[in-house]
Amino acid sequence: MSQRSERRGIHVDQSELLCKKGCGYYGNAAWQGLCSKCWRDEYQKARQRQIQDDWALAEKLQREEEAAYVSSHSSSQTQPPQSHSQHSLATFSKFEEKKTNEKTRKVTTVKKFFSPSSRTAPKKVPPEKEREKEKEEKLPGRRESHGENLLRDLKGIFTQPWEMSSPTEALVSRLRESHEAKTPSPSITRQSSIETDRVSRDFVEFLKTLHKPGREIHKHSRAFIDSMGNKKQDLSAEELSECVQDFYQGMSDRLLNHFKGSSEKVDRVMDQVEKYIMTRLYKSVFCPETSDDEKKDLATQHRIRALHWVTIQMLCVPVEEEIPEVSDSVVKAITDIIEMDSKRVPRDKLACITSCSKHIFNAIRVTKNEPASADDFLPTLIYIVLKANPPRLQSNIQYITRFCNPSRLMTGEDGYYFTNLCCAVAFIEKLDAQSLNLSPEDFERYMSGQASPRRQDDPAGWPQSGSRVNPVLTQIQHNLSVLSSLEKRQQQVIEGAQSLEAELTEWQESVAREVQEILERYPLDIKPRASAIDAENVENDRLPPPLQPQVFAG
């Protein structure tokens, strides 16, 4: 604006006032001598190009900066021992926050030296500002930083495109993009339940113990969640999985190579990252609409329900449930496998499977008095899955396969139990007469529900009948017999009540009849009274005779 007023004072040639593109309209100095239309075209083109170039430049600068930082600080930057800081975190959290606050302020002041117009913006600026933005989200009560962001955005809009070549401008455009990226995904960012909030808080707390890498990790994780929020609509489950796995891989490579973390430390960090990311993404990526997971869930559930008649003996399960400790372990194993569905983080789901497996091992050990081998374990696991019919089993397996950190899934102990669970499910799906040592006819009949193995076999050949039945079943049978005796007694009471009622009505009728009879026999006969009053007047005689009229001469 000021430029224009300056120009006004100076005499200019008419030709200079026309649009430089030669379209015949008047140009404007503020628009680099172009008319409004040409300016807009030019601006759009330049801006696009600029954004792309600056993005690349900013990325490059950031990488350089980080590499430089790491190489200079790798020796001095020792991370605090996490085993004990985990405990003390709660008490130190305020202190930590203060410290971070101070750091933020420092960053802000440093940053103020490099205003957006400064062409010599140092390489440090983009990542620092990004971090600044991250912190703004982390730290409540830093409202001015939000204002600064807005200001920066505004500056970005009003800065002329030819002046945008500094990395800062790239940053502004990046910020704006990331801002835009967040808005269309309210389901991810806004709809945070108490649990997600808690996990996010824990995550930030954990990362504080890592200092600079922590901030970096947080930044990347957030950016990733935002980008996933945008993508999820048009990606298949496999593509989503690939995104997440790429992210894990990239992140752990970074941690290993840039921050020189030991592999155990990296594992620990990756566990936290997984927890944070998957808690946030859970709703959108668990059993996604683009996959047929739900259909498979229903099919498996139906299948397991149809196989309700399969017994321990058919599967050759080395577990005797009448031993109290064994049945206890079995119940716990069933509870654990069902609980898996309620967890959000793949690792927590795996932990449920592992815990379930441990209970199974315990049950086998108590029964057989020797450590279980896979030959014992797999059938028992199949039996447990059949008994438990865990909700959304296929979805859970798919979810773990897609989004669990692969190193854990492939080799570790959790991976072993998970693989067994997959085998168990595969076995249940393919299960046929042969795998249960049954004749195909029997299998068909049991499957169709026409017969049940319990009624078919005679009680002697059926160890599960009689007194050796599972205590719950005996309880049920007992309850049933009590119920039926109660029903009988109730029946008697009802009959008694009915006969009593009948008796009562009869009695009432008989009474009425009797009364009627008596009434008929002795009709109420009211005889008319004698009409002469004097006739009955016995005392008439004693009355003096009526006075006779007398005449007195006088």
């Binding site: 290993l256 080799t411 072993y416």
Partner: protein, 202 residues
């Protein structure tokens, strides 16, 4: 054990009751099952650290169910395995037939998986030579043909048991350099090629 980092997955394959579990028990706990004991809850998964030269390698040893009814699922077990110890009973020729089956499966499905043929219960044939049903040279020929290592072991006496696992660890260690990147990228059949390139140069 859950927190233990496992470098290589080793699967135990073999017919029921050839002694897979005993082999692992012998190796890991240095004992042979004669009577009931309750110290471990299970021998299905064991992580065991070994010294190979200056390196420490942790093998995750996976026991598998050998029953024929689970044959269809065995593929799920050995997916991503670095080594497979295929066991057969020296006194049971049918168990060697089954071993051939697994070798074929492995060759078809897991090309990176090294195969170790392991005859068990050699103490029984030492006691009575007539009980041997699987000829040593036949197996050796088969092993040469498929490029596998061949051992005859006894979990009872401990003969050759350590050697099998030591060999597994050594072989893994020597090809670890080639496999290291791939090991990380093994991701249930998904492509991670882009990462192989940039992580090994740093």
């Amino acid at each position: 054990m859950t927190a233990m980092r496992v470098d290589a997955k080793v699967v135990m394959l073999g017919k029921e009751s050839v002694g897979k579990t005993s082999l692992v028990e012998r190796y890991v706990h240095r004992r042979f099952l004669v009577g009931p004991y309750q110290n471990t809850i299970g021998a299905a998964f064991v992580a065991k650290a070994l010294n190979v030269g200056e390196k420490v390698i942790t093998l995750g040893i996976w026991d598998t169910a050998g029953s024929e009814r689970y044959e269809a699922m065995s593929r799920i077990y050995y997916r991503g395995a670095r080594a497979a110890i295929v066991c057969y009973d020296l006194t049971d020729s049918s168990s060697f037939g089954r071993a051939r089956f697994w070798v074929k499966e492995l060759q078809n499905c897991e090309e990176h998986c090294k195969i170790y043929l392991c005859g068990t219960k050699s103490d029984l044939i030492e006691a009575d030579r007539s009980t041997r049903q699987v000829d040593y040279h036949d197996v050796q020929d088969f092993a040469d043909e498929i490029g596998a290592q061949h051992f005859e072991t006894s979990s009872k006496t401990g003969k050759n048991v350590d050697e099998v696992f030591q060999k597994v660890a050594e072989d893994f260690s020597s090809c670890a350099l080639e496999f290291m990147q791939e090991e990380k990228g093994v991701d249930l059949g998904q492509k991670k090629d882009s990462y192989f390139d940039n992580c090994c140069h740093n």
